[in-house]
Each structure stands twice: as structure tokens, then as C-alpha cells.
């Protein structure tokens, strides 16, 4: 297992990247990206063990990751670049014309690390279930990870996929739900309450774990626990409590920074709170 202190330092840099990318484009989704930075760093710098220089769309004999709530693309792009999937300088092109870093993740421009487009919500769990089935058909023991948003749980397709994965005993899949209780229009509990999310997944036939998604040690421990539960006939869902905007005080405790870019002054305020550990791009 990687040193969690080192991972936290990487996460701080990823958060700086996120804020700078969204500021530079004057568009994008900083809130959820900041909230999920710890998970992305844990996955790419410890869990997945992918070779960033030999990315293939087929991902044979590799652990796979899918992002269903594609609007948090800044955290994914920064993490991929920091891991070496592509040049750091390419982060400057986020949301610009002729960029591989589309507003929402896409395969069309051939960005290493992305295997399916996402952004229109509710589709990632289905795709992950299909990819996990192919791993089984190919006799692979590698795992498939997928992240969804909590607001995204309002999409009906998520529950089709949840029913399917449990029925087919797709036990090589570990899902995460970014449970920050925020969506564009407000708190999830106000917009359309998910009620007891744990009970929902359990009743659909999943193993359910919970963790603090902004605590690196707990992330590593919980994913480790989830890995031990694979291969036992049930898919696994980790409900990940996070704070939208984590790391930037004025972006926390509100849904307002879901999809808003900081101005120059706000950028400076944010960067003062985030250590530049690896050097800005």
C-alpha cells in the first residue's frame, strides 16, 4: 500500500489543478471534482496499478475505472496527467477548442485513460457491468471500478443496472457513490430524496460499505476490504461520504459550486488553501 501522506500531497496538487483548470476555462464543475480528489488519487496511485504509458481501450488484464458522473472531469484529467497518462501541459487545454480534454470525458479525441463517454447521467454502472462480464468471459481476475454521483441515483437506468449486476452475480465490480448530498438545484434530500441508499442497494442484492471519502487512510482501508469481498457472488457498492468543494472553504457547505468557475480573486483565495506539492502545470 502506498504511503497515505504521499497520496494526500498528490491530492492537494490535484485540487490546485482542478481550481486552475476551471478558472482558466471559466467553465466546468469544481465542487464534485474537489470532493472526489482523494478517491481518484487513491485509485490511480495505489489501487488500479495501471501502466499509464501503455493505455489500451480494451484494457485486457488491467483493472478498469469508469466515471459515470462525467461532469467531474477536471479531477479525472488532473489525476491522469499527474500519473503520466498524458502531458501535464495538456491540462491547459481543458474545455478549449481542439482539445482532447472535453467538457465531459470522451473517447472521440483519443485521450488516454478514457474508455467510454460519460456526462449524460445514469449510464456508467451499465457499462461497468458489461466490462466486468467481459473480464469474466475472458477468464480475467481483474476488477472493474465505477463512480457515480448521488444525484445520479435519481436516474432509472442506475436501478436497472443495479438489479442486473446482482442477478448476474457480477462480483468483480466495486462501485462508489459520491454521497455529498448536493446536486445543481440544491440538496439531494430536497430535490428528490434518495431515502435509505444503503437499504436500497442491499435489497437489490449488493454488499454495501460506507466510508469517509475525504479520509485517505479510510479510503485505502475500505477499498481493501471491498476487494476481499469480490468473487463471492455479489457486486459491492461503497457509499462515500464527501464534502462538495473539499479543500476550499468557500466552496464547501453549499451546492452553489457544483458548476461555477471561480473569478481571479476567488482563484487566489482557493490556491492559498491548497499546497503546491508537485508544482503547478
Amino acid at each position: 500500500m502506498a504511503d497515505s501522506k504521499e497520496l494526500k500531497q498528490i491530492a492537494s496538487q490535484v485540487r490546485r489543478d482542478i481550481v486552475r483548470m476551471v478558472h482558466s476555462a471559466q467553465s466546468g464543475h469544481p465542487g464534485g471534482s474537489l470532493g472526489c480528489a482523494d478517491l481518484f488519487v487513491a485509485l490511480y496511485f495505489d489501487i488500479l496499478k495501471n501502466d499509464p504509458k501503455n493505455f489500451t481501450l480494451d484494457g485486457k488484464d488491467e483493472n478498469l475505472f469508469f466515471l459515470s458522473n462525467g461532469h467531474i472531469s477536471p479531477v479525472w484529467y488532473s489525476t491522469l496527467a499527474r500519473k503520466g497518462f498524458f502531458e501535464l501541459s495538456e491540462l491547459k487545454t481543458f474545455r478549449q477548442l481542439d482539445s482532447r480534454l472535453q467538457g465531459h470525458p470522451a473517447t472521440e479525441e483519443g485521450l488516454p485513460g478514457i474508455r467510454v463517454a460519460s456526462g449524460s447521467l445514469g449510464q456508467g454502472l451499465s457499462v461497468a457491468a458489461g466490462a466486468a462480464l467481459t473480464k469474466k468471459l475472458n477468464g480475467e481476475d481483474k476488477l472493474v471500478y465505477v463512480l457515480m454521483g448521488d444525484g445520479e441515483q435519481q436516474e432509472g437506468q442506475v436501478w436497472e443496472a443495479a438489479m442486473f449486476a446482482a442477478h448476474k452475480k457480477i462480483d468483480n465490480i466495486i462501485g462508489f457513490i459520491d454521497w455529498n448530498n448536493r446536486q445543481i438545484d440544491g440538496d439531494v434530500t430536497d430535490v428528490l430524496d434518495l431515502k435509505d441508499l444503503r437499504a436500497k442497494y442491499e435489497s437489490f442484492g449488493w454488499e454495501v460499505l460506507e466510508m469517509d471519502g475525504n479520509n485517505m487512510d479510510m479510503i485505502l482501508d475500505t477499498i481493501g476490504e471491498a476487494q476481499k469481498m469480490t468473487g463471492r457472488g455479489k457486486p459491492i457498492m461503497i457509499l462515500m461520504k464527501t464534502e462538495m468543494g473539499q479543500g476550499v472553504d468557500f466552496m464547501m457547505g453549499t451546492h452553489k459550486w457544483h458548476g461555477v468557475a471561480p473569478n481571479n480573486e476567488q482563484l487566489e483565495q482557493a490556491l492559498q488553501q491548497l499546497d503546491e506539492t508537485l508544482g503547478d502545470y
Binding site: 480494451d58 449510464q123 451499465s126 458489461g130 462480464l133 468471459l137 436497472e160 442486473f164
Partner: protein, 318 residues
Amino acid sequence: MKLFEAKDQKDTRSGFGAGLSELGETNENVVALCADLTGSLKMNAFADAHPDRFFQMGISEANMMGVAAGLTIGGKIPFTGTFANFSTGRVYDQIRQSIAYSGKNVKICASHAGLTLGEDGATHQILEDLGLMKMLPHMTVINPCDYNQTKAATIAIAEHEGPVYLRFGRPKMPVFTAEDQKFEIGKAWKIKDGKDVTIIATGHLVWKAVEAEEALKEKGIDAEIINIHTIKPLDEKAIIDSVKKTGCVVTAEEHQMNGGLGESVSGTLMRHFPVPQEFVAVNDSFGESGKPHELMAKYGIDTPNVIEATLKAVERKK
């Protein structure tokens, strides 16, 4: 003399089932998914022979499209099966994002297309699917005309890298194309040479065009008949070359006039060689319950409609 002697009457969906079964034996990467319509899609033989490669999805078409996209990651070639209505409009965004935009090698196989689904009525009779699918970048759109052509197309699309929409139907229709044909995606099939008019037909309307040809001959009209089985990419050269010779065109399809094959042909000809065109298609209307042949007559996509449209197109040349 008749152009063809149609010996058998078979449904195109059974051609799909036969093609899929053959693929099961010849291509181990082919997998099949079905949303609770295995019998209707004639997928039982594949499911029985390859239970490990067949996925019963239940009544959840959106999930089926996403799972199919995921199955391609690692090299599988998924064939999804449900009615055309549930293969397209119901899951348009899933197809658009997870399959077409993502360039996934999924074969969307759609049965019970059009009016000839019959008694179930308009809720199930999609007449907009070709338009929906042809608008999607990267999507190949195929609508074969009989059992043999559907079987050949099913086998051919497994060899094609990229998303494909394969449309077929429910009713038994004459089998008149060759049993051992090789299906070439995007290549028009000229059924008969002629000099007075080009009749371009797809799907079940190809046989109607063949029937019409005989009556037209008696009226002194020498019609050229082209089967466009691939709506996209469209064999523009075959269309333009024919129309340059005949000077007018009739398109015939079991689909809305808006967004169908006829509009694709119009667009091509308008850019390259404008001529009078008549459309045999459903004119901005939903269908209804009835027997397939009754519906084709009522909604104007039967043999007499092809004859009438052809006479009109020839008349407009003058």
C-alpha cells in the same frame, strides 16, 4: 416473365436468428443480449447453444445498451435484441453517448419494425427508427429485404468494426434473394436494369417494387430496381449513375417520409443530379392495429402505391 419466383414465405427476424446461430459457431467473440423477447427475436437457438454468451437482460433496454457498450471493452461483439421501438427511441441517449459517440462495436438488432408488426398497433410500430439511427455519427444503418438477405447481413456486421443498427420485421414475406449471397455493407444491389425510372426500395418494400415492376412493364414502363439495404453509408454512386440514365426516381420504404431513405436519396440527388422524385412512405402519421397487408394498403406503402408513384414520376419527366 417474372423477375423472381418466391418459393418460400419467411420472416426476416428468422433470418436474423439463423445468422446469429451461425455466428455462434464461427465467432467466439459474438455475444447476445435480449430484453425479454428471445422468442420474438428468434434468439433461442443461440441462447441454447451458447448459454455462457447469452445474456437475458429482462425488460431493461437502457441497461442493455450500456452493458453492450461495456462488453465491447475487452473484445466482445455484442448483438442486442429487442423490438425496433425499444431499440431506438426508448434508448436513444444510451445509444448516442455510450455506443455511437464512444465508437463501440455494438450491433443493435431490431425486430418488429414498421407497420407490419401488425395487431399490436402504433405503440409498437416504430416508423422513425431509420431516421433516428442515420442521424447518429459513426452509426451504420441496415434494413435487409428478405430472410436470406437478413441472415447474410447479420453475419456480415460481425466483421464490421463499429456500431450498426440492423432492422428487420415480424411478418412472413417472400424469400427471393440468393441463399448463398455475400452481403456487402454499403453496396447497393441492382435487381433489374431499366431505362425509364429508378425505383429505390429498402426492407419489405423491395418485394413490393418487384411486384410493381411487372404491372409497369405491361404499361410500357421499363423500371430499374435498386435495393438499398444499407441506408447509411448510402451507395450514392449507384443511385446517381442509375438516375442519370432514367431521369426520375421513386423511393419506397416502411418508414416515415420524414427522415427516411427517401430523404437520404433526395439529399444526394439534390447535391449531384436533381430529378423528379416520388415517395412511397408513411406520411406523418402513426399506424394502428390491423393485419400487416391491410396496414400497408391503408397507409400507402403497398404494390399499387409503388405503381402509382412510378407513373407519376415518369409523367413529371415530361
